[in-house]
């Protein structure tokens, strides 16, 4: 595949995720999968799947997923948000435990306050005028980030200390979205890192061998 040009070696396309999901489902037991951009009356992402077969004939499934090509001038709209200049970075506790607690908290209120500090402590809080519930996790790992120009990576050198490590950074987020995020963790990430910018945004960074996933959740105003 080639991009638009040598300088802009990318192509931006928009498609319906459900279509791609259906195509990939047929590929679970595939020998190989080939993806290409084609033009079949309309631009398509064509997914070719070779499926196992007993005989010598090939069994090929071809999916043509209609796509919209996004014009170069609109590319800025899709720019990946920058890694925020976060106040706290912490590894999440066991997702299963977190999911159980958040599922219960969901029944209490629509918003949860997520806070953490550089001392390995994380807190989830829900509050209504009837009840307040706080769950405290401790002994979590605070990763160190290397702030190189451009690419941020997890490295050995520690960030310049920004005040008291026991100080909590907090963010109030929509609990249903948070619960959705937690229940969608099928990929068994190596690590899930949570970065908090006090009162602005929560950034979840899932690291897997070849894939990384980032979720940004803005705070909900009171």
């Amino acid at each position: 595949m080639q991009g638009m040009s040598a300088e802009a070696n990318e192509i931006y396309v928009e498609l319906c995720p459900e279509n791609l999901l259906r195509a990939l489902r047929t590929a679970q037991a595939a020998r190989w999968v080939k993806m290409k951009l084609t033009n079949k009356h309309t631009p398509c992402l064509t997914v070719e799947v070779e499926l196992p077969s007993i005989g010598s004939c090939h069994r090929l499934a071809v999916h043509d997923i209609p796509i919209t090509i996004i014009k170069r001038r609109d590319w800025a709209d899709y720019a990946e948000p920058e890694m925020p200049d976060f106040d706290v970075s912490i590894t999440m506790p066991t997702l299963k435990m977190l999911k159980n607690v958040v599922d219960k908290m969901k029944n209490i209120n629509n918003f949860v306050s997520l806070s953490a500090n550089q001392n390995g402590e994380m807190k989830l809080s829900v509050e209504t005028d009837m009840v307040s519930i706080n769950t405290h996790f401790k002994d979590l790992f605070n990763p160190a980030w290397r702030r190189d120009a451009g690419d941020a990576g997890v490295g050995e050198s520690s960030r310049s200390s920004q005040g008291d490590p026991a100080q909590f950074a907090q963010a109030r987020i929509d609990i249903r979205r948070f619960a959705q995020f937690l229940s969608s963790q099928q990929v068994n990430p190596n690590r899930v890192i949570c970065n908090i910018v006090n009162n602005r945004v929560v950034h979840f960074y899932l690291m897997h061998d070849d894939v990384s996933l980032q979720y940004f959740m803005p705070v909900v105003s009171t």
């Binding site: 607690v101 029944n107 009840v131 519930i133 769950t135 405290h136």
Partner: protein, 281 residues
């Protein structure tokens, strides 16, 4: 048994109770959870939690002090009203723990007296949750005036066989009729629904019946809607006692064994449905 003074066992609390497995409280409370609010009575005997509906039905859950490994009450009694739905969510915050496979959460309950919140502290696998529930002015609870001297008919039986019958009760029937008699059919549950009437009978000779003391033939009707919630308690119980008095009031008492084999009781009182005329048998 008082443990050494801990930072949070300060003298401000009139009531402090601790146990190792929060399910021993949450499971019993789930058995009476058919309304959002409950009144909690704390005495030196333990906890009594009461839920009422329509001024016709009342459920009480009894959790004796012995179920807790630490139970201290510094005044005669404490009474308050709480939101039972929220209380159960807090007690099961680490997950409903279906099956005995999940680790148990330990529980500490504190109450500092009139107007204070009910404070719960739960811990599982090093994770700590603290909850503060507002308490409300307790309402007067009904006194069904059900005493053993007025009991006309009484049957104690194993819950096993009744569970199936209760689950299969015809929900299109507005009422549940209970007949108890020294003569056949001895004990009969009847419904009158859209498809017709159903009668389930239990002989006094049955292995399931542990005690049978019926002096008079009595047939009473109760609103199905009021009695259906009792099936949760029935599902958890090993034994049930069914009693009626001269007014036709019904007392159902359930003996429930918790995870640690300790015994707790739940009882339901229900007033008969007065709109019916004398039913035929």
């Amino acid at each position: 048994m008082l443990s050494t003074q801990q930072a949070d066992d300060d003298s401000a609390n009139v009531f402090v109770a601790k146990l190792d497995n929060a399910r021993n409280v949450s499971n019993i409370l789930k058995a009476i959870h058919f309304k959002d609010t409950a009144t909690v009575f704390v005495t030196s005997q333990g906890l009594k939690v009461t839920v009422e509906d329509a001024k016709c039905v009342q459920a009480n859950a009894f959790i004796q002090a012995a179920v807790f490994h630490h139970f201290v009450l510094t005044q005669d009694q404490a009474t308050f009203k709480v939101n039972l739905s929220v209380l159960i969510e807090c007690l099961t915050i680490f997950g409903s723990g279906a099956g005995g496979s999940t680790a148990a959460a330990s529980l500490k309950m504190c109450y500092a007296g009139y107007g204070s919140p009910l404070v719960l502290m739960l811990e599982e696998d090093g994770v700590l949750t603290d909850c503060s529930l507002k308490t409300l002015e307790p309402d007067e609870v009904l006194d069904f005036d059900f005493c053993s001297t007025n009991v006309i008919n009484k049957i104690i039986m194993k819950s096993e066989c009744l569970k199936e019958v209760f689950n299969e009760l015809d929900t299109s029937s507005d009422i549940l009729q209970i007949l108890m008699s020294p003569d056949a059919p001895f004990l009969q549950l009847s419904t009158f629904g859209n498809a017709g009437s159903t009668h389930s009978s239990f002989s006094k000779e049955s292995d399931m019946v542990e005690a049978f003391q019926c002096t008079q033939t009595q047939s009473n009707r109760y609103k199905m809607q009021l009695l259906r919630p009792s099936s949760k308690a029935l599902a958890l119980s090993a034994r049930i006692s069914i009693r009626t008095d001269a007014r036709g009031f019904l007392s159902l008492q359930y003996m429930i064994r918790n995870d640690d084999g300790q015994v707790c009781f739940v009882e339901f009182f229900c007033a008969p449905d007065e709109e019916m005329e004398e039913p035929d048998h």
